[in-house]
Symmetry: C2
Subunit: 795 residues, 2 copies
Amino acid sequence: MERVNRSSTLSSTDEVELEQSGTSATIHLDMTAGGGGSPSDFNPFGAIDDVRFKTDEDLPDVMAPPFFSKYGDFHTIDWQRDLARDRLRHKMISKKNFPLGLLQSGWDAGAGWICVLFVGLAAGATAGIIDIGARWMSDLKTGVCADRFWLDREHCCWSSNDTYYKDDDCKAWTKWPWMLNYYNSSSFLFLLLEWIFYIGWAVAMSTLAVLFVKIFAPYACGSGIPEIKCILSGFVIRGYLGKWTFIIKSVGLILSSASGLSLGKEGPMVHLACCIGNIFSYLFPKYGLNEAKKREILSASAAAGVSVAFGAPIGGVLFSLEEASYYFPLKTMWRSFFCALVAGIILRFVNPFGSNQTSLFHVDYMMKWTFIELVPFAFLGLFGGILGSLFIFANIRWSRFRKNSKTLGGNPIYEVMLITLITAAISYFNPFTRKSALSMIQQLFDRCEDQVDEDSLCDQNKALSIAFGQLLWALVFKFIITIFTFGIKVPCGLFVPSIGMGAIAGRILGITVDQIFRAVQAKPGHSEYFTCQIGKDCVMPGLYAMVGAAAVLGGVTRMTVSLVVIMFELTGSLEFIVPTMVATMFSKWIGDGISKMGIYEAHIELNGYPFLDSKGEYPYSTVASQVMRPSIHRQVADEMSMSDLRELKNELSVITESGMTLGDLESLLRQTDFNGFPVVVSQNSMHLVGFITRRDILLALHTARKTQPYVVTNSIAYFSDGVPDSLPGGPAPLRLRKILDMAPMTVTDQTPMETVIDMFRKLGLRQVLVTKNGKVLGIITKKDILQFMRNKNSQ
Amino acid sequence: MERVNRSSTLSSTDEVELEQSGTSATIHLDMTAGGGGSPSDFNPFGAIDDVRFKTDEDLPDVMAPPFFSKYGDFHTIDWQRDLARDRLRHKMISKKNFPLGLLQSGWDAGAGWICVLFVGLAAGATAGIIDIGARWMSDLKTGVCADRFWLDREHCCWSSNDTYYKDDDCKAWTKWPWMLNYYNSSSFLFLLLEWIFYIGWAVAMSTLAVLFVKIFAPYACGSGIPEIKCILSGFVIRGYLGKWTFIIKSVGLILSSASGLSLGKEGPMVHLACCIGNIFSYLFPKYGLNEAKKREILSASAAAGVSVAFGAPIGGVLFSLEEASYYFPLKTMWRSFFCALVAGIILRFVNPFGSNQTSLFHVDYMMKWTFIELVPFAFLGLFGGILGSLFIFANIRWSRFRKNSKTLGGNPIYEVMLITLITAAISYFNPFTRKSALSMIQQLFDRCEDQVDEDSLCDQNKALSIAFGQLLWALVFKFIITIFTFGIKVPCGLFVPSIGMGAIAGRILGITVDQIFRAVQAKPGHSEYFTCQIGKDCVMPGLYAMVGAAAVLGGVTRMTVSLVVIMFELTGSLEFIVPTMVATMFSKWIGDGISKMGIYEAHIELNGYPFLDSKGEYPYSTVASQVMRPSIHRQVADEMSMSDLRELKNELSVITESGMTLGDLESLLRQTDFNGFPVVVSQNSMHLVGFITRRDILLALHTARKTQPYVVTNSIAYFSDGVPDSLPGGPAPLRLRKILDMAPMTVTDQTPMETVIDMFRKLGLRQVLVTKNGKVLGIITKKDILQFMRNKNSQ
């Protein structure tokens, strides 16, 4: 137990301030609304905790801020308390009289559905606009549509009735060198010019993107999924889901996609959908003002994000459930599904890809796979797991270097420009990296039958071997450049690059297997082993590409069910789930064998966010008393006596139920920086009465000082019921029972840490009090748990 | 708070014995293995609770029963403790030396996957066999295949190259009257004979089924899903998932399906899959001997059951997650998916339906729906919600009557025979009820295009109006007969009857809407409003049938996401999710508005199983001290003083840490029937030390008496560490610290019940101790919570 280096590890996370790290100066003491009743029996807004335990008659009459939660930036929310707040709010409504009460109840019940409906509509529309914008601006790298500049290449070529349209070119699409009157497309100068335009446009786009992000919304960079995971688990990052982040990330995403960098739109799309969810939730105070309830909307939004990114609503819901969300009651699941579906439908209406496909990649395999092919599929899984782990390792090393390096960290613009320059300059020369990642993946996924003449991958002659070499080269290049790309300060996701790498690797293997089968079949006497026609209805390299994509994506993100379901929704056939599943399983096993963390968890750890993974298992033989603060030595913990307890008492800052003066409390608050204090019967007995947060007590004292002049420094604060009516001669007592949380969570000192962690995860706790024989020994916060787990894992 | 009638309500549940109801005579005291060490420091098998708090060196060396859980029949398992047992077992393995330890670790890690693989294989095969068997025996009602008696009608007609094959008849299929030389199929005698054969065969089948169930395996009757839900939530029902139940339920399911009763195979299929899971789990001690771990396998099995029932693996996983399972970590989800997929694939290999469809109903709609149609879809939802609630109400009333009636409850055979007689006699005269429910539903789901000539539903003339009347009649008949059928003592599910009712209702509405549209379109000047061709690519009655099926199934079971996903997997198209979803949403809203409980929850309540629903929200303003036992009056609870506490002490049976003699303990066990006792510092202080179960203490005392002759009635039992070495002259002390659970869950008396319920649900508790200022006030068990919720709901 290296308790010493605890703080040093966490202090490296300069951005994040944990919930016990004190400096709660962010608390706004602008809330002067004292309760009615007796002068010294006020109730600023801690009322909620108290009202829960009283009869309904005691409920306050105003439906003001007390019903909602307010947390400081980078703080963790208290789920139980927020949900209690919501229940209270609910009770208030159902107490109202007939016409108004019924209307309000109806509105209250429907609000969630209306909110996610809006979120779905907006997310679908946003995704459509971004898809169209990114496609158009990306095509501008090579040229412009002559008569209708607003069309992208595909639509340009379609709309001009150009008979000559082969993959790349049509006459209506004016390449940039043509503007300078270079028409001979095979001349060196033409190619050079085209290359320069290509690079220039890419660098311009990415520079614009990074400038926008840097100037307007620093939170708009990156994938956003690690942060979304933390936010959904109860962390508060102000502005991360704000409107500026939304606007800048949308624009930046179009720009960065257009720049041809090795990045995807899918992760940012989830972030954007969550921004939309956050923005809309403010229309509904039930959600907007209660952080725990808001996360229900955000879970649905995340599902909508994946739904529009892949055209996979069910996959979206499962992604939200498996990967993103923390607190996911079944009611939320149903609403998330609705949200994801609406978003998917809207995207289909917007129809950004010009076809009627909602899915990102459309495949229509008509063939079967044979059981022997499960061997190469499993091999792809192994490869995906290894590649994924390698990627995570390298990317995290580089990100850590970037974080700590002055040169790199301070100059994100130059970094982006440099990466774009390299990416554009190199990828221009390879037909697979030159085209957009999406069309490359589509080409790799496609079956060969009907485009044999066009597609070099479907050729059986020299073109195939050239393509094979290009694929190998593209794989290596993509792998290296993506390591450096993921983490630069533009909006960038990881799904499409991973799928791209996997598709290339899969296609390489597919071509190999295909050629082997053909060679074997060509031998005399072997053809009867094959019931299927190779290249036509068995050994389809396109399927290998798809399986490879799933494998690498699984290796990088460690998704399981949602990944398979997304792939299922892409293909629409049960038939191909099995290969995908085999690859994903092997990829997950190997990946987890190498390192337990997926890329998002690794980035969460790198950034030091207080995220308590809901998946891992922690087989530690440690008990609560060894983790709590103030810490006691293990040996002591076992045979602790009363004298030890008395020693501890000096370390653990507690408040007594009665007897402490206002001045005592104020000096305790000054001297310590804890975010909460156990309230005990007496310093001697240490028997637990309740818990009080720093925020509540600060506010209460402040209000008391301000509004009740007869409360002086010597006034005794009573957290108990038995307040002496008026001490003759003494100062007026201060009644604080109403702000006391009488239901703190407690565990005994001998509770195994697995159980404590389970409680934190499942009940969404902020802290738990450790008791022994009814006496408070210490406190365990979420931070302590995370620290403990990190120490354990690094041992 | 009607505390008085508590026990009376529960005592009606004669079958179920709750965890605190005492009579723990089922405990087997055959475990004589005392630990080593000092003579009086033994450790029968409570070791587990203790080892968690000690260093690894203290671990016992044998991997014997202590690592596994053992519960009495109708008891509730303790999840936290079982999971701790598994962690301990895991630690033991990882401590072993290189070759063996690695092998064991590998086996341990793979065991779960191998187990669910077997379960999937077996579930798929079982489903295939049952499907084939039920189909064949069902067709025997009307005739037999002339030359190949083992073929069902469809295969019989296929295999004979009979050109005349219209829905019902072909020459190779020998109708029973033909055997008696009656060939004129329109003569009265022929029809009468056929009718009698039809009824006779049906009654014979169902009588056989009920006899099998009654004689061999009483648990094999019914749907099984309510019980599966309880078992997955931690309830133990010995033999419910045993091999006899499996065999008899399989056979009985074939028979009861063949009898033409209004029942489905889907619910029982889930039960059968869980039986398979249970049986296979005994091959893997990790699962078979640990009740909590076993439920991971059972969750996967339930998913496989739905997967084979509907051909919907993803729907199966979501069903398991949403409806059936309680404790469903994400690792389990991934494994469940694998299991469901394997089962689905195997079913496809078995190919029971002769086509290559895995789904129960295959639809291939090629058309679009218009937005205006959402109105009738929503109406179907309303109808489904109302019909479902009505069904639940009537079925529960009838089931309660059956339960309490001597005549009915004691004579299940006559009841089954009577119901079968009525069903067969009436359904023979309606073409829709006469054919098997599955083919009726398929016919209702089908689009019209290509079978206009054959299908009366697709006719536009008189045949349609006759069919319309028949449909109406079928709906009423199905509704009434299913109320009486669901709950009789044969294996019977509810999915297919619900889907059937919904499909009929939907088709009726679909035909109506279709006719209205046609009428409107036929008017001059109206046809331009229709962009689609009615009857061809819009207003398809088959889609209405599907939507109606979803609506009624939703109304009866209150499933949401899983229902929509199952429907999605049936149709395979995103397009038709929206109508299904709209109908399901309205159905759920209306249904929940009428009564909160679905049919399974209602049956759980009827049977009095201790099931704590993981879905509901309980907005009660009650705190723990008002629910705990011993109970205190509400008014007292608020201002409780020390004297009250002292009074309470007499009611709450506690054990003191030290000072009680063996005789005291034994008399305490004799006088009370609680299943566990809080251990406190002293009777005066009531400060909590730990918790001990009746089972552990009984076993410990028994073993002590048996193996340690110097332990006498006057020996003082010490649950604390500070045991005086040897009192001169006095009897030898008895050290019982090792069997003490030092980490009981506690809450304060002011904790709101919502939080307590949350803890029970999410942490899988059996009991929680209520404290105030560190003193034990009382105990809340799962039974108390259920009782409390029932009282609250009935208020």
